[in-house]
C-alpha cells in the first residue's frame, strides 16, 4: 500500500468504502443519473421499509379492522411525511459528518447523554425485536410452522447477511428483501376494496370512535409504527458507512422520499386489508390476521398477508439489529462498520447477532406474553422518541459540524412540531393509562 506522508494510514474498511465511492464518482462523472440513483439508494428505503415491520403492519391492520377506512388512511401518509423530515436530517448529518448518531451525541454532548441514547435504543430495540420474531412466528403459523422455525429463519438471515463483510452487499440483500413489503399492497388488492371508499377516506373521516384512551393508544402505536429511535441511529450510521458525502445529499433525499412513499403505500395496504375484517368482529383480532383474512377473503389473501408479516419481521430483524450494532460500536469507540471483518469489529458483529439472539430466545419461553409485547413495542418507542429527536435537531443545527448544510428555519419549525406532537401523544397515552390503572380516573 502506498501512502504519502500527508495521508493517514488506510484500513481495510477505507479500501472497501473507497471501491463503492469509485463507482459513485464514475457514474457522476459520466452523467449516468439512474446508475447514480441506484448506487446511492439504500439507507432511506431501508429505514422506512424496515419500520414497516411486523408490529407496525399489525397495528395498521388493527386500525383497519377496528375502524375501517377513514381517519387512518390519510394519517399514515401524514406520519411518513413527518418521518421523512426526521430521516432526511439523519441522512444529512451522516453524509456531512461521516459519523453515526450515537458517537456524535456522546462526543458532542457528553457520555451521559450518549449512553442514555444508547440505553433508550437498546431497550426499544429489544422489545421491538421480540415483536419482529412474534410476527415471523404468526406468519409462519399460517403455514403450520412453529416458533423454532421462526427463530432459525431470523438468525440464519442475520448471520447470512453479515457474512458478506461489505456494507454494499448487506444493503443490497436487505433491500431486495424489503421490496417484498409490497405484499401488503397485494393483500389490499386481493380483498377487493371499493376504490371510491378508499379515495373518500382521505378527508380524515370518519374519525375513530371509542374511548379517549383507545384513541390515544391507536395514535401512539401508529406514530411508533412510523418514526422510532432505531431509524435515527440506523440511517445516520448507514449513510456514513455507505460513504455518503455532502455531494450525495440530493440523492439521499430521493432515497428517503422513495422509502417514505413506498412505506406509506404498503402501510395503507395493510390497513385496507385489515378493513376487510371490519364487519367480521375485526376489533377483537390481536395478531391473527392471516388466518382471519384467509377465512374472510380467501386462502390466497391469508397466505399473502402471512408472507408479508414474515418479510416485515425478517427485514426489521436485520435493520434493527444493525442499528444496535452501530450504536454499540459508536458508544464504545470501536470499529462499527459492515466494511470491517468480524475479527476487527468484534463488538459490532457480536452486538448485531447478540441482540437478535436474545429476542429470539424470548419467543421460545413458554407462556411469555408475546402478543402484549408485540402490541406495546410501538408505544414504548413513541414515548422514548422525543429525546432522540431533540438531539437529532440539535446536531442538525450545529453549524460547527454541519457548516452550510445545517438546518434551515423551515426545517426546524417542522422538526419542532414533530417533536411536540410525538411527545404529547406518547405522554397523553402513558399518563391517561396509568391514571386509569391506579383508579384515579375512570375508563
Amino acid at each position: 500500500m502506498t501512502v504519502t506522508p500527508s495521508q493517514p494510514p488506510l484500513t481495510a474498511e477505507d479500501t472497501a468504502r473507497s471501491r463503492d465511492r469509485a463507482r459513485v464518482h464514475q457514474a457522476r462523472g459520466h452523467g449516468r443519473r439512474w446508475q447514480l440513483l441506484w448506487l446511492l439508494a439504500g439507507p432511506g428505503i431501508l429505514a422506512m421499509l424496515g419500520e414497516n415491520d411486523g408490529p407496525s403492519m399489525i397495528a395498521y391492520a388493527s386500525d383497519g379492522a377496528a375502524y375501517g377506512l377513514g381517519f387512518f388512511v390519510p394519517f399514515i401518509p401524514l406520519l411518513f411525511a413527518m418521518a421523512y423530515v426526521c430521516q432526511e436530517m439523519c441522512m444529512r448529518i451522516g453524509a456531512v459528518t461521516h459519523r453515526g448518531y450515537g458517537e456524535l451525541v456522546l462526543q458532542r454532548y457528553g457520555k451521559v447523554w450518549g449512553w442514555f441514547s444508547a440505553g433508550d435504543l437498546t431497550a426499544t430495540n429489544l422489545v421491538t425485536l421480540v415483536g419482529e420474531f412474534v410476527s415471523i412466528r404468526v406468519g409462519l403459523a399460517y403455514f403450520h410452522l412453529g416458533a423454532g422455525v421462526a427463530v432459525a429463519l431470523g438468525m440464519a438471515l442475520v448471520v447470512f447477511t453479515l457474512s458478506g463483510r461489505r456494507y454494499w452487499r448487506w444493503e443490497r440483500i436487505v433491500l431486495g428483501m424489503a421490496l417484498f413489503n409490497g405484499l401488503f399492497l397485494l393483500a389490499a388488492i386481493l380483498v377487493k376494496p371499493h376504490a371510491g371508499a378508499v379515495a373518500r377516506s382521505f378527508d380524515f373521516l370518519p374519525f375513530p370512535g371509542g374511548s379517549f384512551n383507545t384513541l390515544l393508544l391507536l395514535l401512539a402505536s401508529t406514530i411508533g409504527a412510523t418514526v422510532t429511535p432505531w431509524m435515527i441511529f440506523f440511517q445516520q450510521s448507514a449513510s456514513a458507512d455507505k460513504g455518503m458525502t455532502p455531494s450525495d445529499i440530493k440523492h439521499g433525499r430521493y432515497d428517503t422520499a422513495a422509502g417514505a412513499v413506498l412505506a406509506a403505500i404498503f402501510g395503507v395496504g395493510a390497513l385496507v386489508a385489515g378493513a376487510a375484517l371490519l364487519t367480521h368482529n375485526g376489533s377483537s383480532i390481536t395478531v391473527g390476521f392471516p388466518a382471519a383474512l384467509g377465512h374472510v377473503a380467501g386462502s390466497a389473501t391469508g397466505a399473502v398477508f402471512a408472507l408479508g408479516l414474515i418479510e416485515a419481521g425478517a427485514v426489521a430483524v436485520l435493520t434493527i439489529s444493525a442499528s444496535t450494532a452501530y450504536a454499540a460500536g459508536e458508544c464504545a469507540g470501536v470499529s462499527h462498520s459492515f466494511n470491517n471483518s468480524p475479527r476487527n469489529a468484534v463488538l459490532f458483529y457480536a452486538a448485531n447477532i447478540g441482540v437478535a439472539l436474545i429476542a429470539a430466545a424470548v419467543i421460545l419461553i413458554p407462556g411469555a406474553p408475546l402478543i402484549s409485547i408485540a402490541l406495546n413495542a410501538n408505544v414504548l418507542a413513541t414515548v422514548l422518541l422525543p429525546v432522540s429527536l431533540v438531539f437529532m435537531v440539535m446536531l442538525a443545527n450545529d453549524t460547527e459540524l454541519m457548516g452550510p448544510w445545517a438546518n434551515k428555519r423551515s426545517t426546524n419549525a417542522i422538526g419542532i412540531t414533530v417533536i411536540v406532537f410525538v411527545g404529547l401523544c406518547g405522554a397523553a397515552y402513558g399518563i391517561d393509562s396509568f391514571l386509569q390503572v391506579i383508579h384515579l380516573i375512570g375508563s
Binding site: M1, T2, V3, Q7, P8, P9, L10, T11, E13, D14, T15, R17, S18, R19, R21, A22, R23, V24, H25, Q26, G29, H30, T97, H98, R99, E103, L104, Q107, R108, Y109, G110, W113, F116, A240, G243, T245, S335, P369, S372, N376, V379, L380, V383, L384, P386, V387, V390, D398, E400, L401, G426, A427, Y429, G430, I431, S433, F434, Q436, V437
Partner: protein
C-alpha cells in the same frame, strides 16, 4: 474495480499494480471519511445552563412516562 481505473485514466502498467490501486482508491474518499479521521472525536459542545436544564427535564419526564407505560403493561398482563 475496473470501472474506477478506466475512469481515472491510469496507465495500463499501473492498473496491474496493487500498490497503485490502493493509492487510487483513497482518492475516492474524502479525507474526513477515512477511519483515521473519523476515529478522532469531535470537540465537545458547550451546552448553556438553560439547554442542559431543558434536556434533563425532558429526560426525567420521558423516564416517568416510560415507567407509567411499563406499569400499565404489567398491570394489563394480570
Amino acid at each position: 474495480m475496473n470501472h474506477a481505473h478506466q475512469s481515472s485514466g491510469i496507465p495500463e502498467q499501473d492498473r496491474r499494480s496493487p500498490e497503485r490501486f490502493e493509492d487510487e482508491l483513497v482518492m475516492h474518499l474524502a479525507r474526513g471519511q477515512l477511519v483515521a479521521e473519523t476515529s478522532r472525536p469531535v470537540p465537545r459542545a458547550a451546552l448553556s445552563a438553560r439547554t442542559a436544564a431543558g434536556l434533563w427535564a425532558l429526560r426525567v419526564f420521558v423516564v416517568l412516562v416510560s415507567l407509567m407505560v411499563i406499569y400499565t403493561f404489567i398491570d394489563q398482563l394480570h
